[in-house]
Symmetry: C2
Subunit: 409 residues, 2 copies
C-alpha cells in the first residue's frame, strides 16, 4: 500500500537573498543521485541551531556545535546523505573536519566557518574521499534558485521532498522565509534522520536568533514522532542573511521579533508535519490534542504514550476503532495522580469515552467513520488544569516493518 499524505508539492520556492545552493552526485551510497548539498551564505549572515540530545550524537553534530561556538561567522553549510557519520568515533570527527577544510579551501574561508551535516546509515565510516571529490561540482553550480534540488539532495527514505516558502510584511518590509527538511520520522537513527534548514533574508542578531530557533523547534519538530527513536543526527538550522531593508532584530519580544517568530514557526510546523505525513509506511496522519492538563509536561507525556503505542498505531492502520487501546496508553503514561473517570476522549468530534468507560452516546459506526479518514484528531480532555499540547504522528503499517527490515540490503 502506498499512500501520499502530503497534499502540497514543494513548488514555488522563493530564493532568499544571501543564500546560494549547489548540489552534486557524489556516489556516497548509490550512484546517480543527488547526495551532496552546499549552501553558501553571504558575509554577515547569522546562523543558530538546535541539535539532537542523543548521547551517541554524530560526529558532524559535534563539529557543527564547535564551529557555531567559535563564532567566526558561518559562511557555508555542507550536507551529505547516504551516511550519517555517527557511531564512528575519532575517525568520524576527523572525516567531518576534513570535509569542512576541503570546502573552506574552495570557498576561501576558514574551516571553522563551515557547518557539516550528515544523514544515512550509522556505524559505517564516512566515505570522505567521495565527498571531497564531489565538492567542486557542488560549488560550481551554486545559484540562489536551487531550493527544490536542495530538498531532494538531502532525502534518504523520504518519498517526497519537503520545502516551503512564505513571505511576511514586517514594518512595511517584505521578508522571505524558505525552509527545507528531510526525515521520514522525526527520529530514525539510521535512515530518516531529521534535518531542517530555514533561511530568511531578515537581519536577526545571534541571541534572538538562537531564542527563535529554540522556540520554533519546540513548537514543530519537537512535537512529532513516528517511532520514538531519537536520532543521532537531528539538526535544525535557522539562517538570517540580513539582506532586506528591515532593521536588525536584536531583542526577543519586540513586534518585529514576534512577527518573524510566527512566520518562521509556520514554516517549521509545515515541514515537521510533512515529515510525519511522509513517515515510513504511514497511511494516516494523526493530530493528538491533549487539553486541560496541569502542565505541558504531563500533556506531552500522555500524547507521546498514545503516539508511541504500537497497539494504537496498528489499530489506526487497520481503520479499526479499537479505542480502548488509547485509554490504556493514557493509563500507563506515568501521570500518577490521573483520575481516569474525569477525562473525556474524542475522535474528531465524536465523544468516545467518559466516566472511566465507553460514553453512553458512542456508536461504533461513528468511530468507524472517523477511522476511515486519512487525517484524524485524537482529543483527550483531562479536566485538571488549563494547559494544552498538540503532537503529530502517523500509524504503523506492514510497510514500516518492510522498510526497516530491508534497509541495508
Amino acid at each position: 500500500m502506498s499512500v501520499n499524505l502530503n497534499k502540497r508539492v514543494a513548488a514555488q520556492l522563493l530564493p532568499v537573498a544571501g543564500v546560494v545552493l549547489g548540489i552534486a552526485q557524489a556516489n556516497i551510497k548509490r550512484e546517480n543521485r543527488k547526495d551532496l548539498l552546499v549552501m553558501q551564505l553571504s558575509e554577515g549572515a547569522q546562523v543558530a541551531g538546535v541539535f539532537t540530545q542523543n548521547r551517541f550524537c554524530a560526529a558532524p553534530v559535534i563539529v557543527a556545535r564547535e564551529h557555531l561556538a567559535a563564532a567566526q561567522g558561518i559562511r557555508a553549510l555542507v550536507v551529505n546523505t547516504g551516511n550519517a557519520n555517527a557511531g564512528t568515533g575519532e575517525q568520524g570527527l576527523q572525516d567531518a573536519r576534513t570535509t569542512c577544510a576541503a570546502l573552506a579551501g574552495l570557498l576561501g574561508c576558514d574551516a571553522a566557518q563551515i557547518l557539516p551535516f550528515s544523514t544515512g546509515v550509522i556505524m559505517e565510516a564516512l566515505p570522505v574521499a567521495k565527498i571531497v571529490a564531489g565538492l567542486p561540482a557542488a560549488v560550481s553550480n551554486m545559484v540562489a534558485d536551487n531550493w527544490a534540488d536542495a530538498a531532494q539532495a538531502i532525502m534518504t527514505t523520504d518519498l517526497v521532498a519537503k520545502a516551503i516558502s512564505q513571505q511576511v510584511v514586517v514594518d512595511g518590509v517584505t521578508v522571505t522565509i524558505t525552509g527545507i527538511a528531510k526525515g521520514s520520522g522525526m527520529i530514525h537513527p539510521n535512515m530518516a534522520t531529521m534535518l531542517g534548514y530555514i533561511a530568511t533574508d531578515a537581519a536577526i542578531a545571534p541571541a534572538p536568533l538562537q531564542a527563535m530557533v529554540s522556540s520554533v523547534a519546540n513548537r514543530s519538530f519537537n512535537c512529532i514522532t513516528v517511532d520514538g527513536d531519537t536520532s543521532t543526527n537531528d539538526s535544525l538550522m535557522l539562517i538570517a542573511t540580513g539582506k532586506t531593508a528591515l532593521p536588525e532584530v536584536n531583542v526577543t519580544g519586540s513586534p518585529a521579533y514576534n512577527a518573524l517568530l510566527e512566520a518562521v514557526a509556520e514554516v517549521a510546523i509545515y515541514l515537521a508535519q510533512a515529515i510525519v505525513r511522509d513517515g515510513e509506511g504511514a497511511t494516516k496522519f494523526i493530530t493528538l490534542q491533549v487539553e486541560g492538563g496541569k502542565d505541558e509536561a504531563e500533556c506531552k507525556r500522555i500524547g507521546y504514550a498514545i503516539a508511541h503505542s504500537p497497539l494504537v498505531k496498528t489499530a489506526f492502520f487497520a481503520s479499526d476503532p479499537n479505542l480502548g487501546r488509547i485509554l490504556a496508553a493514557i493509563g500507563y503514561a506515568g501521570v500518577d495522580d490521573l483520575e481516569v473517570a474525569a477525562l473525556q476522549l474524542y475522535l474528531d468530534e465524536v465523544l468516545v469515552a467518559e466516566n472511566g468507560g465507553r460514553a453512553a452516546s458512542y456508536r461504533e459506526e461513528d468511530g468507524q467513520r472517523v477511522m476511515a479518514q486519512t487525517d484524524i484528531t485524537i482529543r483527550v480532555v483531562l479536566n485538571r488544569g488549563a494547559v494544552n499540547a498538540t503532537l503529530w504522528t502517523c500509524d504503523f503499517s506492514y510497510d514500516y516493518v518492510k522498510i526497516n527490515a530491508s534497509y541495508r540490503s
Copy 2:
C-alpha cells in the same frame, strides 16, 4: 512466517495439594473454546499478588485488590478470557462483583473470598450473564490434575499454553510448585494481557508471601517486554496451600524462605520468558544484558530503550546486523552523563562497538552469523559501576502488525 520459539511443552504438570481446577466453555467471545477457569483453594491457603500500575486498571484488578485487603481468606480464583472488563466504568465493577457473588454461592463462601480476573478486549461490556451461566460447569469438573487445561483456558492470542512444574526439597520435605501464565506480550492492553498463577503446597505466612511474589515479579515478569504497552489487567498471583509437612515459613530471609524463593523465581522466569517467546509475531528471542551500570534503574533504562526500539526490533526480524541502531537507542535512553566512548557492545561473544564506534576487530560476517540465530544475547558493558540487569524481548515482524491490525475482526 510462523516460528515456535518455545522449546518446552507444557506437560508433566504436577498437581499441587490444596488446589483444584475446573474449566468451562462459556462462549464469552467465541463458541467452542475453553474460556472460563475456576481455581478452588483449600481452607487456610494464603494468596498474595502484584498488579498492573496502569491508571486505567481493569475492574477485576480493583475488586481483586479489595478482596485481598479484606483478608477473609481467599477460597477461589475465577478467570475469564475473551473480555478484559477494562475501561468499563461502574458497570464493570458491578460485573466483577456479580461474578464473585455467583461463584461464592456455588462454593458456599463469601464473595470477598473470591478473586476475579479477566483478559481480552477492553472498553466492551463484560458478558457477565454468560460467565455466571458457565460457572456451574466449571465448578462441577474441578480436579487437582487439570493445570494443562487451565493454561489453555486463559489464552487469548497465545499460540502455546505456558505452564511448568518443579519440585524442590526443603529441610527434607519435597515441595511442589506449578505455575501457568498467559500473554503474548507482557503488555498488550487489548488482547495479550499478562496473567500468571503460581501455586505451591508449602505453607507461607502472608507477609513473606507478599514479599516473595513482589521479589519474584521483579526478576521475571517485570523484566520482559514485547511492545512497551503496559496492560490494564496484568496480575501475578502466588498461592501457598500449606499442605506439606514443611513448617510454615513466616519470615523473609530464612533458609527455607530463600530456597522457596529461588524455586518460585525459576518457575516465574520460565513463564515470563515463555510469554516473550510467544510474543505476537516473534521470530527471535533476545536477551539483553546491561552490565557495569551505576544502579539498576539506569541499566533497565538502557535495556528497555533497546528493547522498545522499533528500528532495533525490525533489524533483528530481518537478521540484519544493522547494529548502529543499538548504539542510537543507548544514546537516547536518558542516561545524561553516559560516556559513549567508554562502553562496549557485544552480540553474543562478538565485540561490535567500543571507543564510540565500530570495533576494529568486528567483521560483518560475525555479526551476520549471530543475527541468523533464533536466540541472541545483546550485551552492553557500561564500565561505570558494578550493577547488572537482564531483560528479555523479541523482534518485531510483519505478523505483529497483522495480528494487531486485525484483532477485532
